[in-house]
Amino acid sequence: MVEITNLYKKFGKNDVLNGIDLSIKEGGIFAVLGPNGSGKTTIIKTILGMVIPDRGSIKVFNTDVKNNSDYRHQIDYLPQIANFPSNLKVSELIKMIKDLRGKTDADQNLIEKFKLGPFLNKKLGTLSGGTKQKVNIVLTFMFNSPIIILDEPTTGLDPISLIRLKELIEVEKSKGKTILITSHIMSFVEEVADKIVFILEGKIYFKGSIAELKTKTKQQDFEHAIANILTENHA
């Protein structure tokens, strides 16, 4: 479904991606992990076409993403920081995205799930961070695309909403979709992820299941396993 080969990207003098090869062929939940500035968001953005790689190619369902925009019909994306045009009302934003992407009825359900009803007529500029993130989630999940990319989905969510989010992810996974997640909350990752893609200094350091990671690092605990990678490589 997603095929990344030999991807390079520099920001100024900063090498962010240093030859990434990543192939995701099956459904399931993939957690993209790595320390700050390791290039997680950059990889996601290159898949979405927001960042243009210096070298290498990305194929989504066998179409090259370069100078193409139609493939994004196959992707639902939840951006990291939910900043929206502050002049718009929530209902208008939802209407607008529907207008841009196509029809869907799933939004009603999601609005109910995240109790957004009272906010529909409020302007986005007046909402709290958490509420914005809920709107963000609604916008992402209201389309039924085979690939879902979630960049820090848990930011600002209250426990109930977090549970709702996990439920949502499980439902989508059960439909056989591919879901890419980045997160700093290790417990969340451990709970939902099928596979880990660990990125370090612009390269894929590890790809595999959590169990495999634990064996490789000889740690019992997931969080320690991650920490282990970091300390060993920085020592």
Partner: protein, 260 residues
Amino acid sequence: MLKILKYSFFDLMRSSWSYVYFAFYLLLGIVLLFLNNDLSKAVITLMNVIIVLVPLIGTIFGVMYYYNSKEFTELLLAQPLKRSSIFLGQYLGVAISLSMSLVLGLGLPFIAYGLFKSNAIWDFSLLLVVGVFLTFIFSALAFNIALSNENKIKGFGYSILMWLFLAIIYDGLFLMSLILFEDYPLDKVSLIGTMLNPIDLSRTLILLKLDISALLGYTGAVFKQFFGTSFGLIISFLALTIWVVLPILRIVFKSKKKDF
């Protein structure tokens, strides 16, 4: 693109700045016409305002809108939309809403004054057309600067500098070089110099209407052909169109390469 244009346009139409801009021109038109009661003088004053203020406002608005709608842009970038449509849509949204404020703001008082019965209508329409051109040019230039500068402050700084350069400094350098090389035939050079600055170009277009008597006092054959026939008008409009098209092409080009 039309959808983006629609959303950008309505977004701007709802922002208070459009109203301020509109109200400013409305007030200006009313003051010029009803307190002064002299249509010819009003047109001259208006010309000064248009060739100085319209570029400034177009520039500031363009840069401001670009930086302020960054989130909106990023939201759109993840959607199945072409990049060029996103940026052109936003640019056109800004340019059209600014032009509308200008045309309505100045047009209403003039219509109320009885413009249609006056023969100043052509001068006035030309002013508005030039104003609209300048709005399109300078908001496109502002978008270019903003696209090339992630840093908001820098982007603002460069835009204001660009305006300052084109509105004042350029003419100073222009005049100095004309005086410096006054022993050489300069009529072609001076016309080319005019073409290279959209503000000068617009000014020339208006001069062709307001000051044709003075312009025809000069001997050069090139001047005579340029100012004395419709040649000047056609060339000036062509050049203005190029001034709109080039920055827009760069928006398309630059936006394709840019990372977000």
